[in-house]
């Protein structure tokens, strides 16, 4: 299985430490086209998530649901509801945790983000990284290929958004001046999928 209680916990533990290491970078990106808090927002939330013990949960779905609720309750800002909704929907679709279930979970998570945030690809948000990642995951054959493809598609999506004018979120107030700045949320989403590739793979699983 790709997603078990153990791998799910390893995933978010890894992501928490990556976020902590990248908090200044994320805040600095947000400083340039936003309000300089994306790093501290995500770090506050993921610290709370990292404090959850795997042993307290029956399965991956229960753990991931709690992680989503924890983000909703601790992050605030735009990223709290968006990341929280992503994980809550993800948890609801993670099923047996195999490759297809993981694909369905990612898709459900993306749908949740779209519904909550009403952004489209090209609006220069996390959706610009998440959408191609989910599509690449679904198109790939094996789990490991799918995870690798998702991570690299996220990175490409993040970079493709950099030259764009933002149309959602705080950066949209800048209009043309938002061009040529990397989006903080697309950056943190890419880190999430890179983290997934490190922790949810291993064909044997």
């Amino acid at each position: 299985m790709a997603v078990t209680l153990e791998t799910a916990h390893a995933w978010l533990a890894d992501y928490a430490s990556v976020i902590h290491d990248n908090a200044d970078l994320l805040t600095d990106l947000d400083r340039q086209i936003g309000d300089a808090d994306h790093g501290s927002n995500m770090d506050r939330g993921m610290k709370a998530v990292a404090a959850l013990e795997a042993a307290d949960f029956d399965d991956a779905a229960a753990y991931l649901k709690k992680a989503g609720m924890t983000l909703v309750s601790t992050v605030g800002g735009a990223s709290g509801p968006l990341y929280g909704t992503f994980l809550l929907r993800f948890a609801g679709a993670v099923g047996d945790g195999g490759k297809d279930a993981l694909g369905a979970a990612l898709r459900a998570g993306l749908d949740g983000v779209l519904q909550r945030g009403k952004a489209e690809v090209g609006d220069k948000t996390m959706v610009d990284a998440l959408t191609p990642a989910v599509e690449a995951f679904e198109a790939a054959g094996s789990l490991d290929e799918a995870l690798a493809a998702a991570a690299s598609a996220a990175a490409s999506g993040r970079d493709a958004a950099t030259p764009l004018v933002a149309r959602k979120g705080r950066a949209s107030y800048l209009g043309e001046r938002s061009k040529d700045h990397q989006d903080p949320g697309a950056t943190s989403v890419t880190l999430l999928l890179e983290s997934a590739a490190r922790t949810l793979g291993g064909e044997s699983a």
Binding site: V75, G76, G80
Partner: protein, 333 residues
């Protein structure tokens, strides 16, 4: 970064201890949830009024809790909207049986967190919740293709006026009507002389040269519409007034005018700007019926100001003049 703080992560919690120490006659503070409550909330039969948002805009919102204004303010981290748990707790706590109005400034984060809270509060507790989203900032152009206009200065005037409507016993629908009227008839425009520094970020959000100003600034240190050379106050006043008057018809009705400081501007400059603004407004045929000059909705230590103009009528003026007793706004009692 030079600030009167202990640890950047504790700023909001530490400040709330000061709010409680200073105003325990009028408010109580739920430190765990970072909520400031009107001391005698819930008031039976009165529509409960809740607002909230990122911290760093004081006195908004925590300073507007009290008689004739808010029943609760949910305090987020600096410039970060509060989380749904806070709004849910506050909603349940202030409901006096007449429902609760959420006053939300139009920012993606605030809107989504309040939305989730409203969904959950109605589902969990059955409290009837209505929401008003303020979006008065004319600096945001093309608002159809963006997150929409930001909620700024009108939020202050709305909390006062809607607070009076709730205090005099109007029901939730009527209170919401008043809120919509205020938001629909108010416009704001701001500018900055300097940036602010978010404590956790440690450096200024944007850079400005010694002879530059930023026009169309928001209240989160987001960069504005355009950098421009520093100009005399009377020219800046003109640039604040013009887009407001171009966006809405303010003639033929009494206006409430707020000249608001962003946090780091001395009062003498705010009065000077107010004098310039009123001169222009009156030359354009506006009649300034009431005014507010001072720091009401700020952006940490940013230097600069914003102008808000609200078209009123007899009812709105009467509600404006009604007694209010909060740390940040007080008259009539």
């Amino acid at each position: 970064m030079k600030k009167l703080i202990n640890d950047p992560g504790d700023v909001v919690a530490d400040a709330l201890r000061g709010v409680e120490a200073a105003h325990s006659d009028r408010v109580r503070v739920d430190h765990e949830n970072k909520i400031v409550y009107r001391k005698d909330a819930p008031r039976q039969g009165k529509v409960g009024l809740i607002s909230g948002g990122g911290s760093g805009h004081e006195p908004m919102h925590s300073g507007f809790v009290g008689l004739g204004m808010l029943d609760a303010a949910c305090c987020g981290e600096v410039f970060t909207s509060p989380v749904p748990d806070q709004m849910m707790a506050a909603t349940t706590a202030v409901d006096g049986g007449a429902g609760v109005l959420h006053i939300v400034k139009n920012y993606t984060g605030d809107v989504m967190n309040f939305e989730m809270a409203a969904e959950m509060a109605e589902a969990d507790s059955g409290v009837r919740v209505a929401s008003i989203v303020t979006d008065d900032d004319v600096a945001v152009q093309d608002s159809l293709y963006t997150a929409g206009r930001r909620g700024v200065g009108v939020t202050v005037l709305l909390e006062k006026i809607v607070g009076a409507a709730a205090e005099e016993g109007r029901d939730l629908d009527a209170v919401l009507e008043v809120a919509k009227k205020v938001n629909g008839n108010g416009r704001s425009m701001g500018m900055a002389l300097t940036s602010c520094t978010v404590p956790a970020a440690g450096k200024p959000t944007f850079e400005l040269a010694d002879d530059e100003i930023e026009m169309g600034i928001g209240i989160h240190g987001e960069p504005g519409r355009q950098k421009k050379p520093l100009a005399p106050a009377r020219e800046i006043a003109q640039e604040l007034v013009d887009p407001i008057l171009a966006d809405h018809d303010f003639t033929g009705a009494p206006a409430i005018v707020m000249l608001n400081g962003m946090g780091g501007t001395p009062l003498i400059e705010l009065y000077l700007m107010f004098g310039e603004v009123v001169k222009i407004l009156e030359a354009q045929g506006l009649s300034v019926a009431r005014s507010l000059v001072g720091n009401y909705i700020t952006s940490l230590e940013m230097a600069g100001c914003s102008l808000t103009v609200l078209r009123t009528d007899d009812d709105l003026l009467k509600l404006w003049d009604a007694p209010v007793n909060t740390p940040g706004l007080r008259w009539g009692c």
